[in-house]
């Protein structure tokens, strides 16, 4: 028995995917031109699947901040903050994120994945209870494997399902931690957070919200779903990422708990990995300033969400349940999704394709994500191209024709 034999099923599925002539999981961006354009397969493509919600990857002020930081402090920290110490910019970044949320403490991680993995797996241990939404991100599932707490899933976005599971724990000792996401990454839907928080209060459970896709996008100040739902004070831990709206890489967790900083010497995903390089810290600090200073980017993003969502619905596509910066287009099966994705790419539009087992309920999706700097014309072009491919592939009903003479 070979080491790779147990992946036989996946190898077969992957082989199917590649028969379409393009491998969506090894796509090469030959050159990235802007937040919305890249050269792929020698051709200029419109990118509608980058999570670059505010388009800040090319913001001149963020780029300059990063370049300046490299000149001043070099390319990397070459070690973890526990071993090599923190740069003053790490500490400044943590203070600024904590202030942004009005929380007392913040810990920055090298990736968003590590923030979830480290914080969740360390907050709960033996005798505790961890309750997660069924559609949680892989980083949350992986945290479940690293904790000795009893882990139970509840139905996606269903507060009554969480209620039942908290009720069943009864009067057993141990902390209860509930993990939710501001915006779910595949279908772009948001948690009914106020209702969830009410259930958590009823049972004395702690609430952790991952705002990875909601930072910048939701709330009056872009703080995410916690702000939009008016429950910032009721959410004990907020996790997020620098890799989407803030245009770089990294993760964070904020909290008001007075003992929060003990996580710095107990969280392995923080202690045993190199800290963020100066350039990233500098561009993220600047990006956060831009988010605060330019609320119009949020409005532009949502205008674009409405243009794409409404346009695709009007053509008959089946989308995720609500408006969101992620627009998931349901397709009947994996091969249709891959074929559709390939046809889009051939037409010069890059989107993501998401197929089982990476998707909830085994659905196959084309996953689009909007950028504040997409133009209306670009998005109308996307709708037109998708509609054409949809009709050609039989995903949409053919265009109504004038009825000719009877048989």
């Amino acid at each position: 028995m070979g080491l790779f034999d147990r992946h036989a099923g996946l190898l077969d599925a992957y082989r199917d995917v590649r028969t379409t002539g393009a491998d969506p999981f090894q796509i090469r961006m030959e050159r990235v031109l802007s937040p919305t354009e890249a050269i792929i397969n020698g051709k200029k493509c419109l990118t509608v699947g980058t999570n670059n919600y505010f388009g800040l990857t090319f913001d001149p002020s963020c780029m300059e901040a990063a370049i300046e930081a490299i000149r001043a402090e070099g390319t990397g920290t070459t070690g973890s903050r526990i071993a090599n110490g923190s740069y003053s910019e790490h500490v400044a970044l943590e203070r600024e994120i904590a202030e942004f949320y009005g929380k007392k403490h913040c810990m920055v991680f090298t990736t968003g994945y590590q923030a979830n993995l480290g914080v969740i797996s360390t907050l709960v241990g033996a005798e505790d209870f961890l309750l997660i939404d069924a559609d949680s991100h892989a980083s949350i599932y992986d945290a479940c494997k690293q904790t000795q707490a009893e882990v139970v899933r509840f139905k996606h976005n269903d507060p009554s399902s969480l209620d039942a599971r908290l009720r069943r724990i009864g009067d057993k000792p141990g902390n209860r931690l509930v993990v939710l996401e501001g915006i779910y990454s595949m279908l772009g839907d948001s948690a009914p957070l106020k209702e969830f928080v009410d259930v958590c209060k009823k049972y004395g459970a702690y609430v952790l919200v991952d705002e990875a896709h909601a930072l910048g996008a939701l709330g009056e100040h872009g703080r995410g779903l916690c702000e939009a739902a008016g429950v910032l004070d009721d959410c004990h831990f907020i996790v997020g990422t620098f890799s989407k709206t803030l245009g770089a890489i990294g993760g964070y967790c904020v909290s008001n708990d007075p003992d929060f900083d003990i996580l710095r010497v107990t969280t392995r995903a923080y202690m045993f990995t190199a800290s963020l390089p100066p350039s990233i810290v500098a561009s993220v600090r600047q990006a956060l300033r831009v988010v605060k200073a330019r609320p119009e980017l949020r409005k532009q993003l949502w205008d674009n969400v409405h243009t794409l969502y409404d346009g695709l619905v009007a053509q008959g596509f089946k989308l995720g349940p609500e408006y969101g910066p992620v627009v998931g287009v349901h397709l009947p099966d994996r091969m249709t999704a891959i074929g559709f994705w390939r046809a889009m790419l051939d037409a010069g539009i890059y989107v993501n394709v998401a197929v089982p087992p990476a998707t909830p309920n085994g659905v196959s999706l084309l996953r689009c994500s909007l950028c504040a700097v997409h133009t209306k014309e670009q998005l109308e072009h996307v709708i037109e191209v998708m509609t054409g491919i949809g009709r050609q592939m039989g995903v949409l009903a053919p265009k109504l024709k004038v009825v000719g003479s009877g048989r």
Partner: protein, 103 residues
């Protein structure tokens, strides 16, 4: 929009229906119903010895989703690490019976 108050009422109703400890036959019948659509063909009979992820066409995520349905049917929670250990229909039934007895 549903309020927390409504949710509590709904749950209490469910709890009344599920308070009784089920028999082994009831648990087996419910598991077989839940798994029926994952058979390779309709003539396959799901038995106690059926290995869930081997004899049926079901991935680990779908198993966890099915478990959530069973949890609500019998008003028990089966922790994920326990789910990971379950291989056969018999083992799943035993787990549910054990948890309902302890309720």
């Amino acid at each position: 929009m549903r309020t927390a108050q409504n949710l509590i009422v709904e749950n209490d109703d469910a709890a009344v229906l599920l308070r009784r400890v089920p028999t082994r036959g009831e648990v087996m019948a419910e598991i077989v119903t839940q798994l029926a659509s994952f058979r390779t063909d309709e003539s396959y009979v799901i038995r106690g010895g059926t290995v869930i992820t081997k004899d049926l066409v079901i991935d680990s995520l779908a198993v966890m989703d099915m478990i959530m349905e069973l949890e609500d049917r019998f008003d028990v929670s089966i922790p994920m690490n326990v789910v990971a250990e379950i291989q056969t229909v018999d083992e799943l039934a035993e787990t549910i019976l054990k948890l309902t007895a302890r309720r």
